[in-house]
């Protein structure tokens, strides 16, 4: 059995670093940070999301794809060529690390939709990309797109996260935001695609915890064209973000009020305007409420958000130093890269901490 | 002061209150044993006619004519409850003459009997109230 054939549940460690000024820094810090939380992983998955790492290709979608076989690669590339203009393609550089085994073929493509195909589809380009990613992931056996945003990339594998970081030579990348995940799946043989972050377009989610509302959320989000191929909580959360943010147009703060909606009793204690808004959001998107323990760090173009479930059943610490923002499962994971913090705090359950590039979007 | 109140709207005329009342004044634990082959003399009595029924028992009046008229001092009112000292009652029936509700009746042994809110037996909620299947008899505090 493989990831996606059954529902996978796991415990985890997460970490994220964000430079509000947009100053780019090396991926080494995030490896150091996640490595501190070694105990929270079991070597069955680790991964990173890095934003701002492809400035020279920032207008192109960067597809990171695992192939299990050459034939899969061939079939997939045919599909990509049919729908996209490929500006650049290459193997993703890795280095041999003894702990990382059985690696698939890992390729990277910088693409832009073929104008004719895009026009025919009557979709906007993002939706077009999403549709194509789902096509590949559901229809082409042995091919799996695990990153599809612009000027960002996901790097993940089966292994401890620090090994995964070294494997992908992450210290050689520079970006304004990194997130990381160390995985502790309870019962899976582990599959590369199953590691976090989970992403769609530029939305990435690293997630610690297990959600009880999984099937309620899954069956709802699938109604809107998402295919939950991996049967992981994280995948569902990523799709919910994409749906509510990109498709419905809710702000991130509003999204927090949907997925980690306050309790009705809390809502009723708010001033009228706020109460009405919260009531509306909770009622209108009732089936996207996420319950059960979770802490997540969501990365997206120009921003990052850290969020706990509404009961705060998982740990989460945030820190700030000058223009830098940090979030992690444990304080130590922040201290190890920046001991001298201006501020450190634990956000309340259900209150998303959102940081964005100064003057940037999101 | 908790009292027994009766609402004829809910009285079914089932007469269970009478049986529970009669049972309460016996020392038996089992009603079948207590009341088998016995003609009961309950202190609460159903009046019924043409589909209307209701139970009548002592109202424990604030100005009790039965107590005031009692020639022996056997009837007394204490803490709002009118009780009968059967030892002193000689069965003259002046109380029956006096009670405007017809809630006092002769007993088998010649003394009179009346509802004493079960304070001499089980105490607590009177048994007629507990035995009423439809909430037609209640034991509660009401504004005077």
């Amino acid at each position: 059995m493989r990831e996606g054939m059954f529902r996978n549940i796991s415990g985890c460690a997460i970490s994220g670093i964000f430079s509000k000024s947009g100053k780019r820094f090396s991926g080494k810090s995030i490896i150091d940070s996640i490595a501190v939380m070694h105990e929270r992983s079991n070597g069955l998955g680790g991964g990173f999301a890095a934003y701002g790492i492809y400035p020279e290709y920032k207008d192109y979608y960067a597809f990171h794809i695992f192939y299990e076989s050459k034939s899969a690669k061939k079939e997939c590339e045919e599909f990509i060529e049919e729908h996209f203009d490929i500006i650049n393609l290459s193997k993703i550089p890795t280095r041999k690390v003894p702990a990382i085994k059985d690696e698939p073929l890992i390729w990277r493509y910088f693409v832009t939709p073929l104008p004719t195909k895009l026009a025919d589809s009557q979709l906007d380009d993002k939706e077009f990309v999403v549709k194509c990613v789902f096509r590949i992931n559901t229809r082409i056996d042995g091919a799996y797109v695990f990153s599809s945003g612009k000027n960002m990339g996901v790097f993940k594998a089966v292994g401890f996260p620090e090994d995964v970081g070294r494997f992908y030579r992450l210290e050689e990348y520079e970006g304004y935001c990194f997130t990381a995940h160390g995985r502790y799946p309870t019962n899976t043989p582990g599959w590369w695609g199953g590691a976090h972050p989970f992403s769609l377009l530029d939305y990435t989610v690293v997630h610690n915890g297990e959600i009880s509302s999984y099937d309620a959320n899954r069956r709802t989000i699938e109604m809107y064209g998402y295919k939950c191929t991996l049967k992981t909580d994280t995948e569902v959360i990523a799709y919910i973000f994409d749906y509510l943010h990109r498709k419905i147009g809710l702000t991130l703060k509003e999204i927090c009020s949907v997925i980690a909606a306050p309790f009705w009793s809390t809502i009723e204690s708010k001033p009228q305007k706020e109460r009405e808004e919260l009531e509306y959001l909770r009622n209108a998107f009732a089936s996207l409420l996420i319950t059960g323990p979770f802490s997540i760090i969501v990365g997206f173009e120009g921003g990052m958000m850290a969020l706990n479930d509404r009961l705060k059943l998982r740990s989460m610490v945030c820190g700030e130093k000058d223009d830098m923002f940090y979030a992690a499962s444990e304080e130590a994971a922040i201290r190890v890269i920046q001991n001298d913090l201006d501020r450190i705090w634990s956000p309340r359950g259900g209150e998303g901490v959102i940081v964005t590039l100064e003057g940037g979007k999101a | 002061m908790k009292r027994v109140y009766v609402n004829e709207k809910w009285c079914l005329g089932c007469h269970l209150c009478e049986y529970y009342c009669a049972f309460a004044s016996t020392n038996e634990k089992d009603m079948a044993r207590a009341l088998k082959d016995i003609r009961i003399h309950p202190r609460i009595r159903i009046e019924e006619k043409d589909g209307i029924s209701f139970a009548v028992s002592c109202r424990h009046c604030d100005e009790p004519l039965c107590v005031k008229g009692c020639i022996t001092g056997a009837l007394t009112r204490k803490d709002g409850i009118i009780t009968i000292d059967r030892n002193r009652c000689i069965g003259c029936y002046t109380c029956i003459l006096s009670c405007p509700f017809g809630a006092v009746s002769p007993s088998e042994d010649g003394a009179i009997q009346k509802c004493e809110l079960c304070i001499k037996t089980a105490g607590g909620t009177p048994k007629c109230v507990e035995g009423c299947p439809n909430g037609a008899i209640v034991f509660e505090e009401r504004g005077e």
Partner: protein, 409 residues
């Protein structure tokens, strides 16, 4: 405040209990010409019958006087009131001062002057405990007892002494027994019942002469006897008030607040007369319930409250050899009648009001009739046909029942 009560029976007790509702501090002095703790006079026949004893006859508990802070002066007779000085002179020369005075002197047996009465050794009246004790002491099996008077006192006496297996003869000037409370048919039922219980009657007769052991009637019948009981009737003890010019009639005249015509002097009980609401006439109603309620009314007003008792009616509950009679009110107006072997019922009504009733045998729920009289309930507000047949709350309107049973005002 100092309260003085002359008398120690139901009216006195009613007054004490009422005074203490309003005044826990004031002195209460009770003057009694008997030597007993307050006791219930009607019980003397039951004492003879063995249904009660001297201890159980106490009208109130032993602690009654101490609990209510009463100073009890036994074996003292009040002989004169000085309404100006507000004092009461006792037979021992003592003067007792009062702020408020209650006359509750009750009544005394009336003994008519009969030729030869002085020759009779064993002669008794029957209203006090001492009367009963003395009478009992002379009775033996087969003692011949002649009771003069077939009213309540005489007949209760006859019942009381029956335990001693005496031979009882009862004579009365009237043609009927219990003539003051029963009609002809009712009297006849009771007379037959008493005769079945070995009481002989000479009605419509009077004694013209007595010797020590024989009475000669107006038709010259000679009736031998061992013991003579004079139970012709009672007279209200009104002299204390009458002597000082207070308004009296057959009894002391009181208003609905039990005031006499003299300030600060109240009267209650058998010594009084007041309005009978069933007839609207002034009347002496020597009945224990009335005595208590008048005493209570007097006590309330003496201790500062404004309290009215205007619901006095004649009424009687009496049992004779297992047969019960309950009567009330005035026997005037139209009649509802019902009778069978055991039971007899008559209701008297006029002008939309129930005036009176007689029940013999089945007396259940009689109080419902009594209340119709007392409250002067308009009969068209209830199902009169039904209530005649079956006394009950069923005859009242639903609303009326709701307030009676549901405590809904």
């Amino acid at each position: 405040m100092k309260y003085v009560i002359i008398g120690n029976s139901a009216a006195a007790v009613g007054a004490v209990e009422a005074i203490r509702k309003n005044d826990r501090e004031g002195r209460i002095v009770i003057i009694s010409n008997e030597s007993y703790h307050t006791y219930s006079r009607p019980l003397i026949s039951y004492l003879l019958l063995g249904k009660t004893d001297e201890n159980k006859m106490k009208y109130r508990s032993d602690s009654f006087y101490s609990e209510n802070g009463c100073e009890l002066m036994l074996n003292k007779t009040a002989v004169r009131i000085d309404p100006d000085k507000k004092t009461v002179l006792l037979d021992d020369g003592q003067n007792v001062s009062y702020d408020r005075l209650l006359i509750a002197t009750g009544s005394s047996p009336f003994v008519p002057p009969v030729k030869g009465l002085e020759k009779v050794k064993n002669k008794f009246t029957f209203t006090t405990l001492d009367d009963a004790k003395r009478l009992e002491s002379v009775l033996e099996e087969n003692t011949k007892v002649l009771i003069v008077g077939a009213g309540l006192i005489g007949l209760k006496c006859a019942e009381g002494i029956s335990r001693k297996k005496v031979e009882t003869v009862c004579i009365d000037l009237s043609t009927r027994v219990l003539s003051s409370i029963l009609d002809e048919e009712g009297s006849e039922i009771i007379k037959r019942h008493l005769e079945n219980n070995n009481i002989s009657f000479f009605l419509n007769h009077q004694i013209i002469e007595l010797s020590e052991n024989t009475a000669i009637l107006d038709d010259n019948t000679e009736i031998p006897f061992d013991v003579l009981v004079m139970a012709v009737g009672v007279r209200p003890n009104i002299s204390l008030l009458k002597d000082i010019g207070g308004k009296t009639n057959r009894g002391i005249v009181i208003d609905e607040r039990c005031r006499t015509s003299i300030p600060d002097i109240y009267a209650a009980g058998d010594c009084c007369e007041c309005i009978d609401v069933s007839s609207g006439e002034m009347r002496v109603m020597a009945l224990l319930p009335n005595a208590y309620m008048q005493g209570e009314c007097a006590g309330m007003n003496m201790s500062g409250a404004d309290y009215v008792f205007d619901k006095a009616i004649p009424m009687n509950a009496i049992g004779l050899f297992g047969k019960h009679i309950i009567t009330a009110g005035t026997y005037a107006g139209d009649v509802y009648y019902e009778a069978d072997q055991e039971n007899y019922k008559k209701l008297f009504y006029s002008n939309n009001k129930l005036n009176g009733y007689i029940l013999i045998g089945n007396i259940e729920k009689a109080g419902i009739y009594t209340s119709l009289i007392r409250e002067r309930t308009p009969l068209d507000t209830l199902d009169f046909d039904l209530i005649c047949k079956v006394p009950g709350l069923m005859a009242f309107s639903k609303e009326e029942r709701a307030c009676k049973l549901g405590g809904i005002a």
